[in-house]
């Protein structure tokens, strides 16, 4: 599975959204499932999928689908 597929899968599973919703308008609280609980599940999903440990600032600044792609670069993950 490519990094993009792994990344997308975490969003699809965490927020029960369809793949056409995976774009810049998917942001924190834009769908009901992306609340603080969903956020924590999503971060845990990404950490598991890419075998990384994210830092506090990256977790709380991870505010959208597109911002996340930038954040993961810091951990050597190119989406």
């Amino acid at each position: 599975m490519s990094n993009k597929e792994k990344y997308d899968n975490v969003f699809l599973e965490s927020f029960s959204v369809s793949s056409d919703m995976l774009n810049e308008s998917l942001v924190y609280q834009s769908v009901p499932a992306w609340d603080s609980v969903g956020h924590m599940g999503m971060i845990a999903g990404l950490e598991e999928a890419f075998d990384i440990m994210m830092e506090t600032d990256d977790i709380i600044e991870f505010s959208s689908y597109t911002v996340g792609i930038e954040k993961l670069k810091k951990y050597g993950i190119e989406i």
């Binding site: 029960s16 499932a33 603080s36 609980v37 969903g38 506090t56 709380i60």
Partner: protein, 471 residues
């Protein structure tokens, strides 16, 4: 007119009340409250639906001041539940923020405050409200259960003063609201800090949001509060590495904190020189009942501590006899002036006086050790705490049934499990989505398990003990 719950100390200091839009001194807050209290009816029922902000705080305080009786409800309450509560209690006024959806038939906008409007319901029947009744809180907020807790001004003030005493809250504190206003624990933070004349930062951000941590830094916040789930988030955020030098006190309530987590959090707090207080309480006792002092955590890991100042705790057996022998499990019973007047299940109940007489059978099973520290062991009634909020399992089954699902609700705190017989022709994920929406609970906290049929006792009732073994 009553004296209200706000202490005098705040006005002498530079204490402030802040929300996302404005900053008020205690003096300005008092002026706003006075002016609004003039517009509110004395002894009428009103619903306040909102979040942590100055208009909501003002309306709450003005109600207490003029003797109007508010029911506090959260912004996220599903409109079907709000409509049902309105039908059951028939309030004269409904105060809620613009954009909230509800059935406003027969009501007209009377006045506005910030982004809130107050509606008058012309056809509301006159009601008898008992003279001691000051405030109503929901027992199981998200299920829209009509069961409410009736509280007096004495309850609110007495609990606030106990909290001030054991946490040592002074006018120099600056607390941020990290829990909802309508939730008894969240409300107790607001009441105790106002009474102590402290500064309050009204925020609706969660610990997962950057905005929350910015406010901690900008306002040099000295304390915040959390349910067990908030501490899961804190640990996930690498609590130990978060820089928050102004924070001196953290409190936890809203369900039992796992011993291991208590240990981890205590260790990090000690390093950061933060006082950490695990606590226990119930809406039926206004909020707080017991607390464990930071210096006792190590020796009494997993304990809820001892009764708050002015209160008393003991254990009773099934016959209502006090158990004096240590470490025998029985029902936890509390006595204190913060014990509510009783419940209300319909509007006629609002005429009732004090039926509890200062004693609360908590429904929690507990034991007391030889040194008098209490430990929770289980619950007598069928409910879970989902992210700190009580959810009745029977109410969940009723909601599922109203949506056409036959199921048995069970689970552990923060994980509701629905056992569904396979014969039903709909996909179980529909049930999950339906309930998540109706309970305003994140779908990840709900699990649906299919079974060929539900296990039943000879009486035909669902065998929950059998389901317990399958969790």
């Amino acid at each position: 007119m009553t004296t209200g719950i706000v202490g005098d100390l705040g006005a002498d200091r530079s204490s402030i009340i802040v929300d996302g839009l404005s900053t008020l001194s205690y003096h300005q807050l008092e002026e706003q409250v006075e002016s609004l209290a003039g517009k509110l009816p004395q002894r009428e029922l009103l619903f306040l639906i909102g979040s942590n902000d100055i208009p909501f705080l003002t309306c709450y305080l003005a109600s207490l001041k003029c003797g109007a009786v508010p029911l506090l409800l959260g912004q996220g309450l599903a409109s079907e539940h709000l409509d049902r509560l309105i039908q059951t209690y028939d309030p004269r006024f409904v105060f809620l923020s613009d954009g909230a959806s509800w059935n406003r038939d027969g009501s007209k906008e009377e006045w506005r405050l910030g982004e809130y409007a107050c509606y008058r319901r012309e056809r509301a029947a006159p009601k008898v409200l008992h003279e001691d009744l000051a405030l109503l809180l929901a027992t199981s907020g998200s299920t829209g259960s009509p069961k409410l807790v009736r509280l007096s001004l004495r309850n609110i003030i007495s609990n606030a003063e106990s909290i001030i005493q054991y946490l040592g809250i002074t006018a120099d504190e600056r607390a941020i609201t990290s829990l909802p206003f309508n939730y008894s624990y969240g409300l107790s933070v607001i009441n105790s800090h106002l009474r102590a004349g402290a500064s309050l930062i009204l925020s609706n951000s969660t610990l997962m949001e950057k905005d929350f941590w910015q406010q901690i830094g900008n306002h040099r916040i000295t304390s915040f509060s959390g349910v067990p789930y908030s501490y899961d988030i804190l640990l996930k955020l690498r609590f130990g590495q978060i820089d928050m030098p102004s924070v001196k006190t953290l409190t936890q309530a809203g369900g039992r904190l796992d011993q291991n987590k208590m240990k981890q959090i205590h260790a990090i707090c000690r390093e950061k020189k933060i006082r950490f207080f695990p606590m226990y309480g119930q809406t039926e006792a206004t909020a707080r009942i017991a607390f464990l002092a930071p210096q006792d955590i190590e020796a009494k890991l997993g304990s809820i501590g001892k009764a708050i100042p002015g209160g008393q705790l003991w254990i009773e057996d099934q016959n209502g006899q006090r158990i004096e022998t240590p470490n025998i499990t029985g029902e936890l019973v509390y006595a204190g002036s913060n014990v509510s007047l009783g419940y209300a299940e319909c509007s006629a109940d609002l005429a009732l006086g004090d039926v509890n007489h200062g004693v609360l059978h908590t429904g929690d099973l507990a034991r007391m050790d030889a040194e008098g520290y209490f430990f929770l062991e289980g619950r007598r009634h069928r409910f879970l705490k989902i992210f700190g909020v009580r959810v009745s399992l029977d109410a969940v089954e009723e909601i599922a049934e109203s949506k056409g699902w036959k199921c048995a609700a069970h689970g552990v705190d923060d994980m509701l499990v629905l056992f569904v017989a396979e014969s039903q022709n709909r996909h179980p994920n529909t049930l999950k989505a339906d309930l998540a929406e109706s309970l305003s609970v994140h779908p990840s906290a709900i699990k649906v398990r299919l079974m060929s049929e539900l296990p039943r006792l000879k009486t035909g009732k669902v065998d929950y003990q059998c389901l317990s073994r399958m969790l």
